[in-house]
């Protein structure tokens, strides 16, 4: 067990019980060899229990993510095709060159970006509307909330099949909406349908996150704005939006990274045909269909890096609004 609750040196039982010094002095230099203020037995027991309770969760999370991602980097540096296991060898960055000069990769990257930007933008608007309806409606609040939860809860694959059959000529009720032919066999209409399916599925989630922010808007403030003659739009932009800003940013961050992972809908709706593959779809195809672990892993690493960059940009642009940054102590 590498997780050790108590600092090993200089903690002979003493009566130093001052919470704040104990807390702040020891966190950064747990085994730094420096003198630490001794901890009371109680404090020590608390730390030990805290670490003990967190250890299983932390171990599972790290074992299933950190180790594989490192392993993934290692795999991405090899020529490793399961169909030709004899040819496995270390080839440095060659896979990265292969992927980054491949037009399929960039097409998929563009598709993923397009889907991410469009769906998140539309969802923000629709989600805000839905959040306001769920929060303020005078009638049938329970009904609206229950209905809105259904897209959130439903299995994505099920919803995707519903959309697929809806747009299948002959079978579907939507197929003839835009006249000619099969919408799911053309690139532009396929992408539009994929985005529609994504938006339908995840707008409620966006709305729920926004509703959490909406609940923080003080009622008095809105009343005061009304008495001062503010219009509904002014109340929205001048009173509600500023209060909701943190909630909006959290919702945007979560949804952006989630949208970037888009996979299920594409798999069912087009199977990536007509250049509608997302990066996830492409990585999956190289891995499971192509059995090329080297290239598949390279794509995995590149996706991971992209997501990290997006998250970093969000946090940098919007300061510490991301959850977790100031979370631990707040109530």
């Amino acid at each position: 067990m590498s997780i050790n609750a108590t600092p090993t040196g200089a903690d002979v039982a003493a009566d130093e019980t001052s919470e704040s010094t104990g807390r702040h002095a020891t966190v950064p230099t747990q085994r730094g060899g420096r003198r630490k203020p001794p901890l009371s037995e109680n404090k020590k027991a608390e730390r030990r229990l805290g670490l003990l309770l967190c250890a299983p969760a932390a171990l599972v999370m790290i074992a299933v993510t950190a180790y594989p991602i490192i392993y993934s980097v290692w795999l991405s540096l090899q020529r490793f095709d399961l169909r030709f296991p004899d040819q496995r060898e270390f080839i440095g960055l060659e896979n990265y060159v292969t992927v980054l000069t491949n037009e399929f990769w960039w097409t998929a990257f563009g598709v993923t970006m397009l889907i991410t930007v469009v769906t998140v933008a539309v969802e923000l608007v629709l989600g805000m509307g839905l959040a306001i309806i769920m929060h303020r409606t005078l009638v049938g609040r329970g009904l609206v909330r229950t209905s809105a939860l259904i897209p959130y809860g439903i299995v994505t694959v099920v919803a995707a099949f519903s959309w697929r059959y809806a747009w299948t000529p002959g079978t579907g009720y939507l197929a003839d909406l835009f006249s000619d032919g099969a919408p799911l066999t053309e690139r532009a209409s396929s992408l539009a349908i994929i985005m529609l399916a994504e938006i339908w599925k995840t707008t409620p989630f966006m709305a729920l996150l926004l509703m959490a922010g909406l609940a923080l808007v003080p009622e008095d403030l809105l009343k005061a704005a009304s008495t001062d003659g503010a219009t509904a739009w002014q109340k929205f932009t001048k009173v509600m939006l500023p209060v909701m800003k943190p909630a909006i940013l959290v919702a945007l961050l979560f949804r952006t990274l989630d949208a970037f992972r888009v996979f299920d809908n594409i798999f069912v709706l087009t199977a990536g045909g007509n250049e509608t593959s997302s990066v996830s779809m492409l990585a999956y195809n190289n891995l499971i269909r192509g059995l090329n672990l080297g290239i598949g892993s390279t794509m995995s690493v590149l996706i991971f890096i992209t997501v990290a960059i997006i998250a970093f940009v969000f946090v940098k642009l919007f300061g510490t609004a991301a959850p977790g940054s100031d979370d631990g102590e707040r109530r």
């Binding site: 919470e19 020891t26 966190v27 608390e46 030990r48 229990l49 805290g50 670490l51 967190c54 299983p56 969760a57 999370m61 299933v64 993510t65 594989p68 309806i133 005078l138 329970g142 009904l143 229950t146 209905s147 809105a148 939860l149 259904i150 809860g153 439903i154 299995v155 994505t156 694959v157 099920v158 519903s162 059959y165 002959g170 009720y173 197929a175 339908w200 409620p204 729920l208 959490a212 922010g213 609940a215 909630a247 919702a251 992972r261 299920d264 798999f267 996830s280 990585a283 999956y284 891995l287 499971i288 672990l293 598949g296 995995s300 991971f304 997501v307 609004a321 959850p323 977790g324 631990g328």
Partner: protein, 278 residues
């Protein structure tokens, strides 16, 4: 005057409500409708079936393919939920109540995992699980599910735990209970509603997964329903599987609808409380 405006306002809200309900339900009703259609009317494009039948449901429950997948889905989701909630509750209790080094790190790590692109794990997990001989087993799916459910569980549960009247714990300790006893005897019962809500959210997450389910399985042994759907072939190889797929889709939607109907309030509070802290 005032009465009139409220009636008008109510009407306006009512219309918006209807819009939301229609928007949310149409795709669900559509697939349900397809599942009740006979093969002859399946492709008539009518939203409401002209002829009703339960044949599609009979077909899928007769095939081992679906029943096995349903058992896998239920078993895997339940086990993963149970473990994730227990581990998550321990961690969330520590985060919301105790002072220990590495707390912020844990919160940060779970946030990172919540945003982690799952497809990045598919290739390494595929290879690692093959080596460990847990590829295409329940365990092979349960492990990633727990991992990705844990951040959700930890966030939701710590939000719930922060609302618990902790003086009761102090009282228990004053009466001679240890911290552990205080947790089990006093806090756990109070935390039960939060645990239950979290369990629902985690279950929905596991129930929903598709990417891991198709990547880390290769046979009926551990394939869950969402993954099995894409391999469906109807009663015989040459039959159109649409009806069967729709029936299976409806079957796995039923639990979600039940959760949502009975626990709407809890699910909403669970999702929003986890988010509001940021």
């Amino acid at each position: 005057m005032a009465v009139e405006t409220t009636t008008r306002a109510k009407l306006r809200w009512g219309l918006l409500d209807v819009l939301v309900v229609v928007f949310a339900l149409v795709p669900v009703l559509w697939i349900a409708s397809l599942s009740f259609k006979t093969p002859a009317t399946l492709t008539d494009g009518n939203f409401i079936p002209r002829e009703w039948t339960l044949d599609n449901y009979r077909t899928i429950f007769d095939t081992d393919q679906f029943v096995r997948a349903l058992v896998n889905s239920i078993g895997i989701a339940l086990i993963a939920t149970l473990i994730a909630v227990v581990l998550g509750a321990m961690a969330a209790y520590a985060i919301s109540r105790l002072d220990f080094p590495g707390k912020k790190l844990l919160v940060g790590v779970s946030l990172l995992i919540a945003m982690f692109p799952q497809v990045s794990l598919v290739s390494p997990l595929f290879e690692i699980e093959r080596q460990l001989k847990i590829f295409d087993t329940w365990l092979g799916l349960i492990l990633p599910y727990i991992t990705f459910a844990l951040p959700l569980a930890i966030y939701t549960l710590s939000a719930f735990f922060k609302q618990i009247p902790w003086d009761l714990e102090k009282a228990a300790k004053m009466d001679g209970a240890t911290q552990g006893q205080a947790f089990r005897r006093v806090i756990a019962p109070l935390a039960a509603p939060g645990l239950f809500t979290t369990a629902i959210l985690v279950f929905i997450f596991c129930w929903n997964d598709f990417l891991f389910a198709i990547s880390l399985t290769s046979t009926e042994r551990s394939r869950t329903v969402p993954a099995a759907l894409s391999f469906f072939t109807g009663a015989s190889q040459f039959e159109d599987p649409t009806g069967a797929i729709c029936a299976a889709a409806v079957v796995i939607t039923v639990p979600i609808i039940l959760f949502v109907l009975f626990f709407q309030r809890r699910i909403v509070s669970g999702l929003t409380s986890g988010a509001v802290k940021g």
